[in-house]
Subunit: 202 residues, 2 copies
């Protein structure tokens, strides 16, 4: 593995290729279902060569998880107290749905990890994520108490947004198998907007 210097051109290229291939494979098969060999050949490298850039399979996986976590939570962070509450929520839902469409691999990566019991990120979930959610739930609660949104349990509201939007990424195969021809994401934005509009309009 290279020294502690500025990464060379080759290092940048290969680390990026590895992480991209690894995301493909981890997101499709979970941590244990992915093999180092598969990731390596998907990245166009030999296994020892891959292990020259990342010391272990786990280190690749952790790099991905940690590297994407912030991005993944950005939409929720952007939920602000300014402006119309319903618009804020709808914008959040829309961002979340766009992320599921644009980054389904990331969605599945987290889904796998959480369904395994989230062994590598429980502490983050119960500290950072929990704090963020509590904060935004309080904001929503405030809107509801002010009569600016119809009242519902704010935490469960957030869960429902997660589940609904990520479902389109995580269960893509099922949706496509069931939906007659049409692109799952075609009608989804309208549907979720309608749903949250009717749920939350005071």
């Amino acid at each position: 593995m290279p020294k502690d210097r500025a990464p060379t051109r080759i290092q940048k290229k290969n680390r990026k290729a590895i992480l991209d291939s690894a995301l493909d494979i981890f997101s499709a098969r979970g941590f244990r279902g992915a093999t180092v060999d598969d990731i390596a050949s998907a990245a166009g490298l030999s296994k020892p060569n891959l292990l020259y850039y990342f010391p272990t399979k786990e280190s690749i996986y952790l790099t991905l998880l940690e590297g994407q976590l912030d991005t993944w939570l950005d939409p929720l962070r952007a939920l602000e107290s300014d402006g119309d509450p319903l618009d804020q929520i709808l914008a959040y839902v829309r961002r979340k749905l766009e992320m599921s469409q644009a980054y389904p691999r990331e969605s599945r990566l987290f889904a796998h990890e959480i369904m395994q019991g989230a062994p590598r990120i429980t502490d983050i979930l119960s500290t950072d994520l929990r704090q963020l959610v509590d904060e935004k739930a309080a904001l929503i609660q405030g809107w509801m108490e002010a009569g600016r949104l119809a009242p519902v349990h704010p935490h469960h509201l957030i869960f429902s947004i997660w589940s609904l939007t990520q479902h389109y990424a995580d269960f893509d195969v099922q949706i496509r198998a069931v939906l007659p021809g049409e692109d799952p994401f075609a009608a989804a934005p309208d549907f979720v907007e309608t749903l949250y509009r009717r749920l939350l309009t005071p």
Copy 2:
């Protein structure tokens, strides 16, 4: 493996124990994350002994998937054209949520399988499940056209029910990490009922 006769008392007991332990482990770790040894010792058997009852790891997994699929779809099948449409939908949602609470392992088993691309059940999804969903979607569509339910895309309505209810089982860890103390399933029934009531009341 035993001949083609009526199963003995011991066979019944052991097959049941194996399937139960296997459900524990497959649902927690997915197919590749589960080892035959783990399942065997969880069932209180040696590995060769387990393989005396099921020829392969895959056969255990398939037995579970197929054995639970019908049960898993029963709530949707029970959606009938009789009675008040909203009550029918709300009853479906309630049944589905109860199943997530009572059978989280089964929910996760299917979730894992589908997230892997559903290699073993794609055909069932695109035939049986699709037909069932189409049928019920048509029923819902009819209710909406008759003005007895507020109009939304019926397929996506069904997806939303799946995602919302199964989320409580599949992402249990995350929900518990985020929810301040309370039991996730305590407020869930009220929340989902409110959601679908507001969404669908004409």
